[in-house]
Amino acid sequence: MIDVGLAVSLVVAGGAVWGCARWWRRSHLLDALVSAVLVGAVVARVVHLAFEHPAGLLSPLELISLRSGAAWWPGVVAGVGWWWLRSGSAPAPARLVALAATVPLALVAHGTLAATCVVRDGCPGPSSAFGLVPPGLSSRVFPLGLAAGIVLVVLAVVLAHWAAPPLVPPLTVVGLAVGAVAVVRLVATLVTPTLGSRGPAVGVELVVVGVSIGVAVVGSRRGVASAA
C-alpha cells in the first residue's frame, strides 16, 4: 500500500526546500543537502534497528520503514559527517561557511516534515482544549508537530536573513540551529504521550542542548577573535 501521507509530506518538504533554496540563492547547496539527508536517514534507521530489532538489519524493506523509528542524533551526526567529507578540498573555514549556509535549508526540511504530520498520522500530541482530533482518535490534541514545524521554519528564515555569516559566525549558526532543534525535541518528548520512560530521551536532548550551546559560544568567541 502506498503511504499517501508520507508521499504528500515528501512533496511538500521537497518543494519548500527547493523554493527556499531559490529564494535564498542557495540552490548550489541542494545536492550536498540531499545526499547528507539520505545518509543520515539510513544511519538513523540502522542504529535504531541495531538496538530494537537487529534481525531487521537483514531485511531491506524493514530498513526503509523509517516511520517505525529512527535514532535521530546519530543520523544528524552521520549526515553532517558525510557532508563534511564530501564537501571537497576547500579549507575548513570555507566549508564551515557553506555548512552554515546549508543549515537553514536543513531546518526547512525538518520543519516541513514535522508540520506535515497532519497528513501522516494526525499530529498526535498532548490533550488540549484546542487543536485537532486526529483521524481515528477520539480526543482533541495539540498538534505539536505542526507547531514545532512552524518554529523551525521561522528559525530557518531568521538564520538565513538576519543571522547569517558574516553577521553571525558560522559555528554559532550551526550551534544555534542544533540547539533549537534539541529544545524543540526536548519539549516534544516531555509533553507527548509515550510508550515507556521519557528519561533516556530527555537526557539525550539535554546533552545535545548543552553541547550546542558550547559550540555556539566557541563559534562566537572565534568570530570575535578573527574580527579583532
Binding site: 501521507g5 512533496v11 545536492d31 550536498a32
Partner: protein, 186 residues
C-alpha cells in the same frame, strides 16, 4: 559536490516552474483536507457471551468467538493489531507492540493474524520475541467483522468495550502512544 553559488539564471521563473509549484500546493492542500477530515472512532462494539483468551498462540477463531473474547476482556483496555507476515509495516511495528505490552501490564495487546499461513506466523512471533496473545483468522471472518481494509489495522477499546481509537495502516510510536492515551491518559 558544488558548494559555491552560481549566477541566478533568467529562466528561474518559467511557467513550468509556476505549474510545478501549483501542483505541489494542490497535492498539499488535498492531503491536509484528507487528514483533517475528522475522526470516526465509534466503530465496533463486541456483543454476546464472554469467553476466555485461548491458552495457546494462534488458535483459530471465527467472528463469534472473537467477539466473545473481546467481551471476556471487559474491565481492561484492549488493543487488537491485525497483522500478517507478508506485511512490511507489521514487521516494522512489532517491536513497538512488544514495548506497549511490556510498559502497561493492565493493557491487553491481542494480535489477530490473518490472510497468511500459521507456520510463518509462529516464526514471526519467535523472531520478534512477541509473547502477547495472538489468535488466527484463517477464514477472514474476523477481519470482515472489524471492517479491515488494510494491513496492519490497529484498534483500541476502553475497559467498557467502547472503541476509542483506530489506525488503518502502519503507525509511529507517537501515534501508538496517542491511541493508548485515549484509554489510560497520557
Amino acid at each position: 559536490m558544488r558548494l559555491l553559488p552560481t549566477r541566478r539564471r533568467s529562466r528561474d521563473r518559467t511557467p513550468r516552474t509556476r505549474r510545478t509549484a501549483a501542483i505541489a500546493a494542490v497535492i498539499g492542500a488535498v492531503g491536509l483536507a484528507a487528514a483533517c477530515g475528522g475522526a470516526d472512532p465509534a466503530g465496533f462494539t463486541a456483543r454476546g457471551e464472554p469467553a476466555p483468551l485461548p491458552d495457546a498462540q494462534l488458535v483459530e477463531v471465527d467472528a463469534e468467538g472473537f467477539e466473545a473474547i473481546l467481551v471476556g476482556l471487559r474491565g481492561r483496555p484492549v488493543l487488537v493489531n491485525v497483522w500478517a507476515t507478508w506485511c512490511v509495516p507489521c514487521r516494522a511495528e512489532a517491536p513497538l507492540l512488544r514495548r506497549a505490552a511490556e510498559a502497561d501490564p493492565d493493557l491487553v495487546v491481542l494480535g489477530l493474524h490473518a490472510d497468511d499461513d500459521v507456520e510463518g506466523a509462529r516464526e514471526f512471533l519467535a523472531d520478534f520475541d512477541l509473547t502477547h496473545p495472538n489468535v488466527s483468522d484463517d477464514d477472514g471472518d474476523v477481519t470482515r467483522l472489524l471492517g479491515v481494509t488494510s494491513f496492519p489495522t490497529t484498534i483500541v477499546w476502553d475497559a467498557e468495550g467502547r472503541q476509542r481509537a483506530r489506525t488503518n495502516g502502519g503507525f509511529t510510536e507517537q501515534r501508538l502512544a496517542a491511541m493508548l492515551a485515549e484509554v489510560r491518559g497520557p
